[in-house]
Symmetry: T
Subunit: 152 residues, 12 copies
Amino acid sequence: MSIGQPMANYAAARRVGDFVFMSGVVAVDPSTRRAVSSYEDIPEAARAALRTVGYATGQMSVDVFEAPIVAQSWFVLERIRQLAAEHGGTMDDVVKLVQYFRRLPDYAPYNRVRGLFYPGQPPVSTVVEVSRFLPGDEVLVEVEATAYLPSP
Amino acid sequence: MSIGQPMANYAAARRVGDFVFMSGVVAVDPSTRRAVSSYEDIPEAARAALRTVGYATGQMSVDVFEAPIVAQSWFVLERIRQLAAEHGGTMDDVVKLVQYFRRLPDYAPYNRVRGLFYPGQPPVSTVVEVSRFLPGDEVLVEVEATAYLPSP
Amino acid sequence: MSIGQPMANYAAARRVGDFVFMSGVVAVDPSTRRAVSSYEDIPEAARAALRTVGYATGQMSVDVFEAPIVAQSWFVLERIRQLAAEHGGTMDDVVKLVQYFRRLPDYAPYNRVRGLFYPGQPPVSTVVEVSRFLPGDEVLVEVEATAYLPSP
Amino acid sequence: MSIGQPMANYAAARRVGDFVFMSGVVAVDPSTRRAVSSYEDIPEAARAALRTVGYATGQMSVDVFEAPIVAQSWFVLERIRQLAAEHGGTMDDVVKLVQYFRRLPDYAPYNRVRGLFYPGQPPVSTVVEVSRFLPGDEVLVEVEATAYLPSP
Amino acid sequence: MSIGQPMANYAAARRVGDFVFMSGVVAVDPSTRRAVSSYEDIPEAARAALRTVGYATGQMSVDVFEAPIVAQSWFVLERIRQLAAEHGGTMDDVVKLVQYFRRLPDYAPYNRVRGLFYPGQPPVSTVVEVSRFLPGDEVLVEVEATAYLPSP
Amino acid sequence: MSIGQPMANYAAARRVGDFVFMSGVVAVDPSTRRAVSSYEDIPEAARAALRTVGYATGQMSVDVFEAPIVAQSWFVLERIRQLAAEHGGTMDDVVKLVQYFRRLPDYAPYNRVRGLFYPGQPPVSTVVEVSRFLPGDEVLVEVEATAYLPSP
Amino acid sequence: MSIGQPMANYAAARRVGDFVFMSGVVAVDPSTRRAVSSYEDIPEAARAALRTVGYATGQMSVDVFEAPIVAQSWFVLERIRQLAAEHGGTMDDVVKLVQYFRRLPDYAPYNRVRGLFYPGQPPVSTVVEVSRFLPGDEVLVEVEATAYLPSP
Amino acid sequence: MSIGQPMANYAAARRVGDFVFMSGVVAVDPSTRRAVSSYEDIPEAARAALRTVGYATGQMSVDVFEAPIVAQSWFVLERIRQLAAEHGGTMDDVVKLVQYFRRLPDYAPYNRVRGLFYPGQPPVSTVVEVSRFLPGDEVLVEVEATAYLPSP
Amino acid sequence: MSIGQPMANYAAARRVGDFVFMSGVVAVDPSTRRAVSSYEDIPEAARAALRTVGYATGQMSVDVFEAPIVAQSWFVLERIRQLAAEHGGTMDDVVKLVQYFRRLPDYAPYNRVRGLFYPGQPPVSTVVEVSRFLPGDEVLVEVEATAYLPSP
Amino acid sequence: MSIGQPMANYAAARRVGDFVFMSGVVAVDPSTRRAVSSYEDIPEAARAALRTVGYATGQMSVDVFEAPIVAQSWFVLERIRQLAAEHGGTMDDVVKLVQYFRRLPDYAPYNRVRGLFYPGQPPVSTVVEVSRFLPGDEVLVEVEATAYLPSP
Amino acid sequence: MSIGQPMANYAAARRVGDFVFMSGVVAVDPSTRRAVSSYEDIPEAARAALRTVGYATGQMSVDVFEAPIVAQSWFVLERIRQLAAEHGGTMDDVVKLVQYFRRLPDYAPYNRVRGLFYPGQPPVSTVVEVSRFLPGDEVLVEVEATAYLPSP
Amino acid sequence: MSIGQPMANYAAARRVGDFVFMSGVVAVDPSTRRAVSSYEDIPEAARAALRTVGYATGQMSVDVFEAPIVAQSWFVLERIRQLAAEHGGTMDDVVKLVQYFRRLPDYAPYNRVRGLFYPGQPPVSTVVEVSRFLPGDEVLVEVEATAYLPSP
């Protein structure tokens, strides 16, 4: 699995002054061009972490409804963590998140997953339910992050 | 009535550099966990101000349709004003607003209420209609504000 | 045709520190108060540019479905270019775009038009499908731009 | 603008005994065969009156949603006033109104406009939301009035 | 066929002072408890009259869509004519009609049929589209009539 | 409980000549501004009367669906009775009812309740299903009454 | 009228041990292959019984909405009573009912009819609203009964 | 809070031979006649148990979507446990569950709650999504249980 | 292909007294976690049997619509046959079936397939159309079986 | 039963050169003006033929969903066979069929019925799903045939 | 008005052998690129002809619903007549029409208009209701004609 | 990839006299039984050709919406070209196309692709939007072609 390249010809992130603006991130694996939809689509280490908050149960009838949003939440936040790292920062430097959902009840599992990336208080946060994301209906969450990384 | 705590464990506002980013604000009273829905849910002083622009008429058949958006608009903008004040600023320092609505015709009453907070020209403004907000269908407007408060 | 004034009493753009924030832009001609809907609503030079990427074919049955989004895309990006110019910058200084669509398949033609404004790599980019824009259903795209123009 | 002729071959009003029954009135300009939809479709004097109750703001994003019902409300009530006048009466002689709306929230602006015609208490009043009016979807309100004009 | 009894226990018409108020009339044959739906449900004389305005063509694919509203229009107006006659009047004494339709395009054929009952100008007239009538979906039009029959 | 004041600034009833016209009545308790929705919202005497026609059973799963229309029907007709009494009349003087429903199957329980107010034959009656009433979706029936009370 | 044969090739009821399991019963007359829809579709004795609980009023506008569920409820429970009788039992031996409805408000009239079959307390009971029954949309209720008839 | 009486006049459970059949159980508090909708509607001990499986977080935006199904699941299974106890059994004697949901994704939280009642393997289980339950839309789950309690 | 394990942690079947209760069965292959959707998902022997009743035609445009329900019907009934066999019984010992469908017209092909498992009369049978099954939309039928296998 | 006359005043078929063009055929019996809907609407010989491909089972719950399309398919193709015969040809001379369906899954049973008319390979064939046919919703299939009958 | 050029780059008609195939014709005026929608969009001579079959009444409330389909029917058939004329034929040589409608009830007025072009029997005719036509929703009918014009 | 066999047992094309009639063609690969959905489903040479008209961009977010209709358009027209070739003709001999779409805006990309097959003027052309095609929802276009290939 690779979560590195953007889906189209635009910059994934860009530093301007003390800020790093990131493009909206969705959970699409560029190698397969498909949205993340199950726990198999993320690494075992991620699954282990998700089990600590009660997901990835291994029961088909439970996972079938939860896996898409839980796995996408992990994928998207991990991608933001990587982008911050590429600019020399950590999740604590990501100070603002705009979080778009297709179905607002997905905020509950997303919130548990975000707790894995922000053991302390999460950053400034906006949450809205919208209609759809690129590249299609199976994408459930998009997050636009802003990092503050003042030049030393 | 109290309009101070956020609905979840994230920061209501955060200063980074010369900017204060605020989380998206909705009109939910944390003490009751319910969305603002009538003129009774806001202070009398607010109602008096709203009467100057023609709302809070006291006629049931008129107020029943207008009260939810008018009262929520006041609540949300007042909360932004408070957050700016907590960082030493005023509404004039809030330089950018992203305003999400569930029903775009609500922009008309919102605009009149915003005029009470910005007697002069309002700041940079984006308006879009989206599907839903936290914590549920009765929330009609969410506003994400950015303040510019250069350190002295 | 004139693409200069905003639709309401808010600032079209505002410099704060090294940044120029712009209000969300939609393709409404203030002189007619109508949304751009056909190739006749934009200048001949624009049409010529669009023909280089395969649009403005002159065939009624082809243009009828493509013209609204293609012409609006041009109008919106041209307006952003003008606002950047008014603050002394170019499209290359516009470092972040939040792009809202009513129908996500419109991203494909929008993307071709944006290529005319960004011959190189486009800036940081967020794309979401939402429900509606001001002033009504015929508006298909709204773009919120941020420029970085450090004071010399 | 002319608001005199009915849309079809029936009587606009008819005296029987001490009563004047009026046909249901909608805001269609017979000269253009189109429904009233904007403030341009009514006289400047009407616009001035409407501004006293907060409408006809001149802001496109506000007027776009309010103008149709506000202008139609004025048009319809003015037509009823004319019909009463043709039978030797005034608005005070119009003792009963049945008011049909396509969208009940339109009652709020209608009620403000009616206040311009009835500075005192309005007459006996019935309000229902129905599906549609002649000649089509753009008509938002229809009012059927009854006047009491006892023969001297 | 019999078009005399009401569907429920209320008065079909009642004289008060100089007026005869009639209950809303729908085209239901009390003997069969079914709504009128085809030209077979009305007398041959009625069909002959309808042919003079272009209906009852005998072509199945034409009549199938037109017969229900055309035959119901005739039935309802004939019933009103009978009620007026029972009180000593004619159609010319019926001075006001409130006409409810399930589908407003049905006004066009109804209007042609009404012309058979009012060779001159029809009375004061209100037309609205509503949702449904008693006793069910197949009823397309209901007319409430008021007659003025001053006591001699 | 109080069922006396109107919801807005218009006359509840008005005498003109020998007639008393009444505004359309809905079952909204002005003291709470809420629509009548259960048997608790009406007096015990009313509940006792309703039990004689089989309603107010005390079984939750039965009452939950029937109570709103049954209690509203009682409330609306009682209000009309009061208005007639205020002008010196009784239910027998109320000679015409226009009855609007949101769901036509509600006519069956309404009809049983009306029988309590009109032990003999009810007056001239029109019934139509419309979309909605003031002040909102929970109102299920509106009745417009006309009384004939010739001056002595 | 005959309410004896099942609609397809399966057993209507079968004894196993001390239990008699019954197939789900719907109100379809096998001789006509049509669902019961009016009071004419059931015996006069049934109508008389239903009149004791307020149904079968003879008023068309009341019966048209109530007759289908009331008559089907009677038919289905009578069929269950017959099946119990064929195995030597009575309604008191039917100890469990699973009752499926297409529209849950139909539970209220069903409950009144069931009271005719169970003058005392009804048996263990499950009620759910589902989408549809065999053989089609006009079937409103299906009941699956279990009888306990220990071998002597 | 009391979870003891049924909503209507039928038996909550009944022993026949070695079996105890239970009526379908929904989470309605008979004292308030309202469906369970929040964690406040169940005892603190229940909340504590639910926290062990990750629910009842105290965060409004998380609990708002999860509380209704989680609290109803606890309420329904606790009621079944009580009914089994009234017949001298435990949850292990409840050998079969038919579980109806309004929204199948609710199976995931329900399954976690059921694990609190069945630390070992749950009984024979059927799960279907249906349309609605008594007494209304806010009920999300209904469970029909069968216990096997052979007479000693 | 394997049709042995349940989808979640509950018992597939359980003997209590002389009865074997089975959990509701759906056609999901546990090895792939996907619903059966084509004739390739079942064994050749099954296809051969289905051809005897006219299915599995090999024509793409015919099979595309029929294969999902036909193959699922076979899979579900075969699974029930296996569970009966595991408890020492045959299909003749399965005395009761509750059959849930997503689309009731699927009963016709299901009935032909069931005839392969019950050459004689099928057992007691209940059929209802519901909304959805675990684990998702592609599941078209669920069957809950009860076997009677008295201990020798 | 008679399947000879067209529904309106147009030619059922017409020879031009070596071709016989036929009007689109639907299964409407001109004598009753109703669409074919059951096996009773076609001759016994047709039913016998349909039984050879598994239809007309005599089981109500199976036939209720299949009969309309199966019987209409037979009716339409038989009518085309008759039209070919009237011009001196057979089904083998009908070289092209355009087949419109209201519900594409109906192609499967149609295809089996067409096999009765074309024991060998069917002709050139186009299949599309459209919205509706004359004279109404109950018509499920329309076929437009072209025959090649070179003049000798 | 001009009804000559096609909307796109394809042939309007083409002779092959003894046949002239015509492209599907819709009522779009190439000079305005708009669909015909009123009687003003067709010549006075056409209006006069339409008046002979009862259309073009001059009453706004009647014409508003009928004009679009009546005027388009005339436009389309006139265009076919012209194309036939360009190849040396008349309407009698047009031997086959495939007629697509957006709303099948439009067949009735279309049929009356077609009678003006075919005073005798119309040609072979297929009628289907489909979803939409080029260039958009306002087009109500499309006709594809085939002429037989054997070379002399 | 193979685009040769039809999906069912009918002739793909048939010569009668000087004409070759072709069955309606859809883009389904018989070897996989799946509809063409991406550029990978067609040969590289096809992709190269499509790039000359601006498609097959390689950008995921652009191709995801355009690929299905563009690739299907190529597939269908290529299949028609092959069928013409099998009868000794070329695309220029295909004189008539009836083109059915599921979504009419797909005509624009289809038209560009057709230009690759008809560098000059395309043949006589009919375009309609219908509901669905065999074998399912993913098929976006069906084309029925007629070739004129007079025998030498």
